[in-house]
């Protein structure tokens, strides 16, 4: 039994459900998803968990009669709802026909996807009595099977649909149901507090940063251009002053400078609701003659789950008009862990573009002798409070 469903405790809510026709009460943490409630709280292990982020379809169950992802339905979201799992479909006519057809067509091998596949297939049979093979394949595309190549599954579903059509059984569209997410019954207020309140987690030591090898080959890259209304020599000089430049970079904190060309610190990254802080170190190089520089760094987030390594090369040149500067940034990075699993390169570029725009404004303010404005929209650096206030340019683009 998982920790989330251990014996009753103060952080758990009393969850009333109707499961397979039987009224049940189960204690669950608000964060428990319906799949864990069913499996760990009620021993209904027919509902399988695969990816737990809505992609594989193994956990598909019926909520108020409609298929949903159990892994994306949290306990608090379905209070009072009726759940039907694969165990509850033993006597269901359509499920019975599907089981026979799956058996006949060899529509399963290991069986891991089968409970979700049957629930999804039953929904297609009910809603799409005219479906051809293409519609069925589209309709089953949210349920992954690693064994069968889908051919037998599609044949089985087609056979059941054709048979029921032959018997003149009409579709059920669910047209009369109430608006809104299925399972979210109207009217019931709910308060499930968290006891004790979630304390900020002490920052875990960052995982050891691998040696910053010159052979680093980034997986992703993009370029960025900053235009500044100040002469190139002034801009290049400022870019050599780590503390000054870093003060212009939103979300960055410098914690140590063990050697003249090495810095340690962190960068808080926010993309919409995602907020994470990478900590690590970076090496700085600079060519005074060519007016170029490079920063090569690596870091991990607080739990050490997501990791990144990146390199920024910059070149300071003359801008389009005399007395102005164009800074060309060449950013390459590799991201691993959950953030990479979710993040698409485009989101990182959009974030980097917005960081660069703010960085550019702050640089301009500093070069103009104005105090850089306080960065807008950034939360306090939860994991880095009390550390040095100086900031670090090295972390630009470390998303």
């Amino acid at each position: 039994m998982s920790a989330a469903l251990a014996e009753p405790g103060p952080s758990r809510m009393a969850l009333a459900l109707t499961v397979n026709g039987r009224a049940v009460r189960v204690a669950a943490e608000p964060r428990s998803h319906l799949g864990d409630v069913l499996r760990d709280g009620l021993d209904l292990t027919g509902t399988h968990l695969g990816c737990e982020h809505g992609v594989c379809g193994a956990c598909t169950v019926l909520l108020d009669g409609e298929p949903v992802r159990a892994c994306l339905t949290f306990a608090g979201a379905c209070a009072g709802a009726a759940v039907t799992t694969i165990e509850g479909l033993d006597t269901d006519a359509i499920a019975g026909e599907l089981r026979a057809a799956f058996n006949r067509e060899h529509a399963l091998q290991c069986g891991y996807c089968t409970p979700g596949m049957l629930v999804a297939a039953r929904d297609l049979v009910l809603r799409l009595p005219e479906a051809d093979e293409r519609r069925i394949r589209v309709g089953l595309s949210g349920n992954l099977c690693r064994c069968t190549g889908y051919a037998g599954i599609v044949r089985a579903v087609m056979a059941v649909i054709a048979d029921r059509r032959g018997r003149g059984i009409p579709s059920e569209t669910g047209a009369e149901r109430a608006l809104g997410p299925v399972g979210a019954g109207v009217g019931a207020a709910l308060v499930a507090p968290l006891h004790p309140p979630a304390d900020p987690v002490a920052p875990a030591a960052p995982a050891a940063v691998a040696d910053l090898s010159d052979a680093f080959a980034p997986a992703q890259g993009f370029t960025q251009v900053l235009d500044l209304a100040h002469p190139p020599e002034a801009v290049f000089a400022l870019l050599g002053d780590i503390a000054a430049v870093a003060a212009c970079l939103p979300g960055a904190v410098l914690t140590a400078r063990p050697t003249p060309d090495t810095v340690e610190g962190g960068l808080q990254v926010r993309i919409g609701p995602i907020a994470t802080t990478f900590r690590g170190r970076a090496r700085i190089g600079r060519d005074e003659v060519a007016r170029t520089g490079a920063v090569h760094g690596a870091g991990t987030d607080a739990g050490g789950r997501s990791a990144t390594e990146g390199r920024i090369r910059y070149r300071v040149g003359a801008g389009p008009t005399p007395g102005t500067t164009r800074v060309e940034l060449d950013v390459g990075y590799t991201l691993t862990g959950p953030l990479a699993q979710f993040g698409r390169p485009g989101l990182v570029r959009d974030l980097a573009g917005r960081i660069a725009a703010e960085f550019c404004r702050n640089l301009d303010a500093r070069l103009s002798g104005v105090e850089a404005p306080a960065p807008a929209g950034l939360n306090p650096l939860r994991l880095l409070l009390g550390l040095a206030r100086a900031r670090l340019a090295a972390w630009l683009g470390r998303a």
Binding site: R31, S32, G54, R69, A120, L190, P273, R305
Partner: protein
């Protein structure tokens, strides 16, 4: 793949929700159907201390027609639109977009307001509602305001909601008689987030139209006046007049540097234009990858 611990509250009225939101700690997050936020919670990319479930507010689960405008409460689901449980003023445009979002179990819980407030650039409603000229209704403790969708979505996963505000409803103007609508998304696997989206809402009779190129890095690229895409004039022959070079130029100006990316997006926009000229009622409920 288990979320960090959070408290869960489900206010049962709009005043209660707004009051709770105004006094809530910084780590509060709103949830509707949870089909975008859920994966982020499970991956612990988002770790709120309190989740406010907005589905208990009755007016968020309503839809109505106000004159020439369809008003969809934030908690109306994709499946509600797919199944025709709400009125339609768009000649089926909303229904076809909704029917091709992700998978049926996701559509049964995922909401139009949640998707829009989440503002993933590759999500369908961000582009489709921008092309349709929709507005959002926003409620805060101090009152209500409205914004066009193109001013609501300000960046990837970023919208113009204040910390004590919620998205109340989406207001979709009717598609007038004679208007042409085309929406195409390109996915390599059915149900995944799109790699490119093209959408056009054209009024050949009035000589005007909007075009959107979506699933880009930030907010969708909107041509509120789409005439440059059609040699300066939108008429009944708009499909033949579509000029891919003008679309390519618009993407260059929007900062899309990669020529391959531009080619993909221009091609998908061209397909949306073709679909607007010659709607195929059989094919258009299926994503392109099908």
């Amino acid at each position: 793949m288990k979320p960090a611990a959070f408290a869960w509250e489900r206010p049962d009225s709009l005043p209660a929700l707004l009051a709770r939101l105004a006094e809530a700690p910084a780590g509060v997050k709103l949830i509707a159907g949870g089909q975008s936020l859920g994966p982020m919670l499970n991956l612990r990319l988002v770790e709120p201390s309190l989740i406010l479930d907005i589905t208990g507010v009755p007016e968020l689960r309503e839809a109505r027609v106000e004159g020439d405008t369809l008003v969809l409460g934030a908690c109306v689901t994709h499946a509600d639109l797919e199944d025709g449980r709400v009125p339609d003023l768009t000649g089926g445009a909303l229904r076809r977009v909704a029917a091709a979002i992700a998978y049926r179990p996701v559509r049964n819980r995922g909401t139009i307001g949640g998707s829009l407030a989440h503002a993933d650039p590759a999500a369908d409603w961000v582009s489709a509602l921008t092309a349709l000229g929709a507005e959002v209704e926003i409620a805060g403790r101090t009152g209500r305001r409205a914004l066009p969708v193109e001013r609501f979505v300000t960046g990837a996963l970023t919208v113009a909601l204040g910390p004590d505000e919620i998205l109340l409803a989406v207001r979709v103007p009717a598609l007038p008689a004679g208007a042409a609508w085309g929406y195409v998304k390109h996915c390599t696997k059915i149900g995944e987030f799109a790699h490119a989206i093209g959408a056009v809402r054209l009024e050949p009779g009035a000589g005007r139209g909007r075009a959107v190129i979506g699933a880009v890095e930030g907010p969708p690229v909107l041509l509120a006046d789409a005439r440059p895409l059609f040699g300066g004039r939108i008429g009944p022959d708009f499909a033949a007049r579509f000029d891919p070079r003008a679309a390519d130029l618009a993407l260059r100006e929007a900062g899309m540097a990669d020529a391959v990316e531009r080619h993909i997006h221009v091609t998908v926009l061209g397909r949306a234009v073709a679909a607007a000229a010659d709607p195929d009622p059989r094919a258009d409920t299926l994503p392109e990858a099908a």
